[in-house]
Each structure stands twice: as structure tokens, then as C-alpha cells.
């Protein structure tokens, strides 16, 4: 037994040691990138394949690419540990939260010379005031996407469209608390960064009122559902609308008049990254105006760099949805990180919104009835069996 065990241990050790030895010989490193789904140009539709271009330019760096569907799920994965990432691309408020919780590495900007191409208006933003931890990747706004084939033009213009009972079952909603609450808060006229318990509860009630009309709470599935016409109305990021409209030209987009969220997604290196230098090389590569222009041309999100914008297809660079005018932008507001208490309160309200149930009594009655039925059947069979046994015994006796 002991010998078997030690042999097994040796085998395990050998298997573990092997790849390490191979890497040391060739000095190739693998960087783990954790990004939003559908958030890098991957070579479809004759667009640039950013990752393979990068691997071609840096032959000793391999990229392992993984995706998440919301800031919250990315945070959960980081917090849960067990996996190391070299690059993550969270949104502004999540960057701030990660900085506050000391989960990001400071970047070495001497490794990222292309940072100079980023516009000054996107440097030192509120979420990273000294710009030590993050580099802007894209920016954009949240608005409403709707299908012109089914939605009456008189109904559009505000967030109310998402609460319009006429379109019940055809409305999609964000599947993350921060974006969902921002919509309810904007609709009610509150700040999207409020932590006031009463206001949060009122916003949650608004979301609860909307729930019977909602087809599904989704993130990346929105592409498929809107493109096929399975759903007609959905709030989402402007850049993704530009991708969807290429598949389904009936889709249209507007910025709700009550105000909306404006965001910056930034590239960061989380604490525990194993190959920070390689990660910084990748960041620098992404910031190259030529790469940035081609990448964002595919994504449809807005570029934080004028140098890149100049290299883009002018049709996209002048698009009022990708680059709204100052007047529209003034109506947008940025998220800031909520306190621990605020986040928890929002999370639990959100869970209540998603799980609250109206048909309580019906199920209760049905379940009690089912339990009663089971008990009745059990007793019935027992009694019947006893009777049969008694009858059989009686027969024996008479015989």
C-alpha cells in the first residue's frame, strides 16, 4: 500500500513538474485574460483577430482568454480565488471597488508607452483619480434598443417603455443589480449612485412592478433574442446595439430623456497576476491606435483615444450613437462604487425582486393537499393489507 502510494505521489509530482520545465526552456508565458463576452475583435466578418495578432507580435506570450457576463460575476470569481488572471476589464465603479479593496496591482506605465494616445479627458477619472491602476479600454452609454416593426413610435423616448404593459413578455432587462437599479432610479428621478435605503426600496418596488412584463433577465443572450425578434425592447450598451443592428436592421436605439448611465471600461491587472510584464505588453498592444481603431470598429463601443478615432471608418466615428453630442452626454452620469453596506442592500433587494413570488397561497394549498394525499394513500394501503391478512388468516382457520 505504502509503495503504491509513494509511486502515485511520484507520478503526480512528475506530471506537475513537466510543463514547468518545458516553459522554462522556451521561456514562453501564458497570460490569462478575463473580459466581457463579445468584447474583443475575434476575426469574424473579416475584422482583426486581436489575440492572434498579439501572439504573432509577441511569440513568447500565449493568451488564455476567458469571459464573464457582468462586473458582479467577475468580482465573485476574483473574490472566490482559485484562479489567477493577468488582465481583467471591469467597468468604472468596479475598478473603484477593486482599488478600495486592494485587489489591483499598480501599473508600470513605462511599459505602456502607448498610454500617451489616450485623451486627457479619459485620464485621472473619478474611479482611479491618480490613474495608477487602470487604462481606459472603451466608453459608452446605456440606452433602449427596440424593434421598429412592433414598437409604436409614440411610446418611445423615456424609460417608461420598459414598463409599458402593451409589450408584456417582449421586454428584456439587465441581469445585474447595478444596471437594473440605475434604470429604475433614473425613471424615478433619483441619482443612480444613491445609497438611501428608502430610495433603494422604492426603486426595487418599481422593478418588482416591472417583473410580470419581463420576458427574461439576461446579459449576452440579448444579442440572440433581439436579433431574432424573440424580444422587442431591451436596455443595453450602445456599442452592442451597433453590432445587433447589423444583423437585424429593424432595430433602433434611443437615449432615454430621464438620464442614463455613462461608463468607461478599463483594463487592469489584478493582485496575484503571475506575468505582469506580459500583461502590460498586452495593454500597450491594445492601446496602439491602429489596433485600437480596428478592434473598436468591430465592437462598436466608443474609443477613448482621438488618435484611434481618426483611423476609424468615418461612418462609425461620426455615428451619433457611438459618439453622442455634448448635449446628450450631459444627460448621462457615471457610476461610483457603493459602500459595502449599499452594495449588500442593493444585492439583497435585487434577489428579492428576482425571487419574490405572488402565487404563495396557491402553492401552499396544493402542497398541503399533496402531502395529505400521500398520507391518505399510505394509510389506505396499510389498512387494506391488514384487512386482507385478516381475511386470509380467517380462511386458514376455517380450513
Amino acid at each position: 500500500m505504502k509503495r503504491l502510494l509513494s509511486l502515485l505521489l511520484i507520478a503526480i509530482l512528475l506530471v506537475n513538474a513537466l510543463p514547468a520545465a518545458v516553459f522554462a526552456a522556451e521561456e514562453t508565458v501564458t497570460i490569462n485574460i478575463y473580459n466581457w463576452g463579445q468584447y474583443i475583435s475575434d476575426g469574424t466578418d473579416d475584422c482583426i483577430d486581436v489575440i492572434s495578432e498579439f501572439e504573432a507580435a509577441y511569440p513568447n506570450i500565449k493568451v488564455n482568454y476567458m469571459t464573464f457576463d457582468s462586473n458582479e460575476s467577475m468580482y465573485t470569481k476574483l473574490k472566490a480565488g482559485g484562479s489567477t488572471f493577468d488582465i481583467i476589464i471591469p467597468s468604472d465603479y468596479m475598478v473603484q471597488k477593486l482599488i478600495e479593496e486592494d485587489m489591483l496591482e499598480q501599473l508600470d506605465f513605462s511599459n505602456i508607452p502607448n498610454f500617451e494616445y489616450i485623451d486627457d479627458s479619459f485620464k485621472n477619472l473619478a474611479y482611479d483619480p491618480e490613474n495608477l491602476y487602470s487604462v481606459p479600454y472603451t466608453w459608452g452609454c446605456v440606452g433602449v434598443i427596440y424593434n421598429t416593426k412592433y414598437v409604436d413610435p409614440e411610446d418611445i423616448g423615456s424609460w417608461d417603455l420598459l414598463w409599458n404593459a402593451k409589450y408584456a413578455g417582449k421586454i428584456l432587462m439587465f441581469d445585474n443589480p447595478r444596471d437594473a437599479f440605475a434604470i429604475a432610479e433614473a425613471k424615478l428621478g433619483y441619482s443612480i449612485n444613491t445609497e438611501d435605503s428608502t430610495l433603494l426600496t422604492l426603486a426595487a418596488n418599481e422593478l418588482r412592478a416591472q417583473k410580470p412584463l419581463v420576458q427574461a433577465y439576461v446579459m449576452d443572450q440579448i444579442f440572440d433574442k433581439m436579433e431574432r425578434g424573440e424580444a422587442w425592447i431591451a436596455p443595453y450598451y450602445a456599442g452592442d446595439y451597433l453590432l445587433m443592428v447589423e444583423e437585424n436592421p429593424d432595430l433602433a436605439f434611443y437615449f432615454p430623456e430621464e438620464g442614463f448611465n455613462r461608463f468607461v471600461d478599463a483594463i487592469c491587472v489584478p493582485k496575484g497576476a503571475e506575468h505582469k510584464d506580459a500583461a502590460e505588453a498586452f495593454i500597450n498592444f491594445l492601446l496602439d491606435p491602429e489596433i485600437c481603431a480596428q478592434n473598436l470598429e468591430y465592437l462598436g463601443y466608443s474609443a477613448p483615444s482621438s488618435a484611434a478615432k481618426e483611423l476609424m471608418d468615418p461612418e462609425l466615428a461620426d455615428n451619433p450613437i457611438a459618439y453622442p453630442d455634448e448635449e446628450t452626454l450631459a444627460n448621462g452620469s457615471f457610476f461610483s462604487a457603493l459602500s459595502q453596506r449599499g452594495t449588500q442592500e442593493m444585492d439583497s433587494l435585487w434577489t428579492m425582486v428576482k425571487t419574490a413570488d405572488t402565487a404563495t397561497t396557491v402553492y401552499l394549498i396544493m402542497t398541503i393537499a399533496a402531502i395529505a394525499l400521500v398520507v391518505f394513500l399510505w394509510i389506505f394501503f396499510k389498512v387494506r393489507k391488514r384487512k386482507r391478512k385478516a381475511r386470509r388468516c380467517a380462511k386458514w382457520k376455517t380450513a
Partner: protein, 271 residues
């Protein structure tokens, strides 16, 4: 001694991957997320989720009963076929299980959607589309479809093993075909029914993917709540508490089911 040694790897496996994780679940369920101190508040919070527990149990009971109603005749039929046909039919039942459960559910979505295959066909021949998806019925359909093989296979095994001489004896002693079924075949197949019900009910009650794809936001099941506690809300303590309660409920349900077999085993002996 040697025999004991043989069970060693499994015992080790059980301790490492069943008992210790269960202990971790228990630990998480009874501690506070922020401070790590002992608390019962996670369990107390579950009171808000009773309706969802009840719905999960209720939908799974219906799905299990439908599986039984469909599965029993099928198993009976297969058990009475020629061995070659039997093998073919058995393979037909196993075949869908070779394809990923997620893909099979997604295929139903493509069929049932408002813009799916069935409704597109209906609109193309001039009928109005039907509300096929995003209701309790669709969730039950998904459960029945995915778990039906787990009902048929144990029933088939049990029905195969019934000694045909018992049936002949019953017929000789004057039972008509209905009595043969109710007095001989049905009691003898109870172990198969019970294991079939358990194998369908337990995964159905804790499922989360089917309800997300085929259900609406209003038909959320307890598995979805548990999943969201771990994946989105980052509250593993409450998620563990929910899992613990679900586990206890499943034990209770299975325990009630097993009472039926224990009773009927006696009748089998006296038969």
C-alpha cells in the same frame, strides 16, 4: 482483511469529496458572511423563500408523476419484446443521454420560442402562435424530457426480472389480466417505481438550468436562487443554508417514498 482493503479507495473518495464538502456546506450555512461567527440568521432568512421551495417541489412532483405515467407502459412494453428489439429500444432511450443536457434543453428553446420552429410553422399556415414557452408547463416539459430515461431504466430492469411463472400461476389460480397486473406485476415492480421516482424527483427538484431557459422570471426554482447566491450575489453562506434545507427536504421526500417499499416487501414475501 483483504476485503476491507478493497473498499479503501471508495471510502477515501467519499470522505474527501462527500463528507468533507458536506461539512463545509454546514459550516458556511451556520456562519455569518462578514464576521465568520456562528449564526442562525442564514437559516432564518429562508422563510422568505418558502414559495419557491414549494413551487420547485410541486413542479418536480408533477414532472415525476408524468414520467411514471409515460415510463411504466414503455418499460412494460420493452420488457416484453424480443431480446434484439429490447436492445435496440434500450439504446433509443439511452441515445439522447449521450448529448449534453444543456444542448437538449436549448433545443427545446429553439422549438418552443415565440419565434421558434413550432410557432413559425403555425404562423406560416395561417394559425396564431401559441404561448409555448416561459410558463410552468414548459418547465415541466423540460424536466420530463430530460429525466424520463432515469424512470424507464430502473422500471425496465425490475419488470424484466419478474418470474413469468408467477404470472402463469396467478392466471392458473383464476386471476383475470387486470388482477394479474394489480396483484402480481405492480407489487413486484414497486422497487423499480420507487427508485425511478427518486432518480427523477431528486435532480428535478434541485435543477436550475431548465427553469432559466424554459421558464419566465416568474417561474424561478430554488436551484436558480442557490446558483445566484454563488454566482451573482456572492453570498455563499446563504446559498449553503438554502442547499442544506433543500437537502433535508429531499431526504424527507425520499424517506416517505421508501416507507412504501419497506411495506410492500412484506407483501412480496407472502405472495
Amino acid at each position: 482483511m483483504k476485503r476491507k482493503w478493497l473498499s479503501g479507495p471508495y471510502v477515501l473518495w467519499m470522505v474527501l469529496f462527500t463528507l468533507i464538502p458536506l461539512g463545509v456546506v454546514l459550516y458556511f450555512a451556520l456562519t455569518d458572511a462578514a464576521t465568520g461567527k456562528f449564526t442562525l440568521s442564514n437559516l432564518a432568512k429562508i422563510a422568505d423563500y418558502w414559495p419557491i421551495f414549494l413551487r420547485s417541489i410541486w413542479l418536480s412532483i408533477i414532472a415525476t408523476l408524468i414520467c411514471l405515467l409515460i415510463g411504466y407502459p414503455v418499460a412494460y412494453f420493452i420488457a416484453h419484446c424480443k431480446p434484439t428489439t429490447q436492445r435496440l429500444l434500450q439504446m433509443m432511450i439511452m441515445l439522447p443521454m449521450c448529448i449534453s443536457f444543456l444542448l437538449r434543453t436549448l433545443a427545446w428553446v429553439a422549438l418552443l420560442d415565440d419565434t421558434g420552429i413550432i410557432n413559425n410553422f403555425l404562423t406560416s399556415i395561417g394559425l396564431s402562435p401559441l404561448p409555448l414557452i416561459r410558463n410552468n408547463g414548459a418547465v415541466i416539459l423540460g424536466m420530463v424530457y430530460n429525466y424520463l430515461p432515469y424512470m424507464i431504466l430502473p422500471l425496465f430492469t425490475v419488470l424484466m426480472k419478474i418470474d413469468p411463472r408467477l404470472i402463469e400461476a396467478a392466471e392458473d389460480l383464476g386471476c383475470n389480466s387486470r388482477q394479474v397486473f394489480s396483484r402480481v406485476i405492480l407489487p413486484l415492480s414497486v422497487p423499480g417505481i420507487v427508485s425511478g421516482i427518486t432518480m427523477v424527483f431528486v435532480p428535478a427538484v434541485s435543477t436550475f438550468y431548465i427553469s432559466q431557459k424554459l421558464g419566465s422570471p416568474g417561474t424561478i426554482l430554488i436551484g436558480d436562487v442557490i446558483e445566484s447566491q454563488f454566482k451573482a450575489a456572492y453570498n455563499p453562506n446563504f446559498g449553503a443554508a438554502l442547499s442544506l434545507v433543500l437537502m433535508v427536504l429531499i431526504f424527507v421526500c425520499v424517506g416517505v417514498m421508501n416507507r412504501f417499499t419497506n411495506d410492500d416487501e412484506e407483501s412480496m414475501v407472502t405472495l
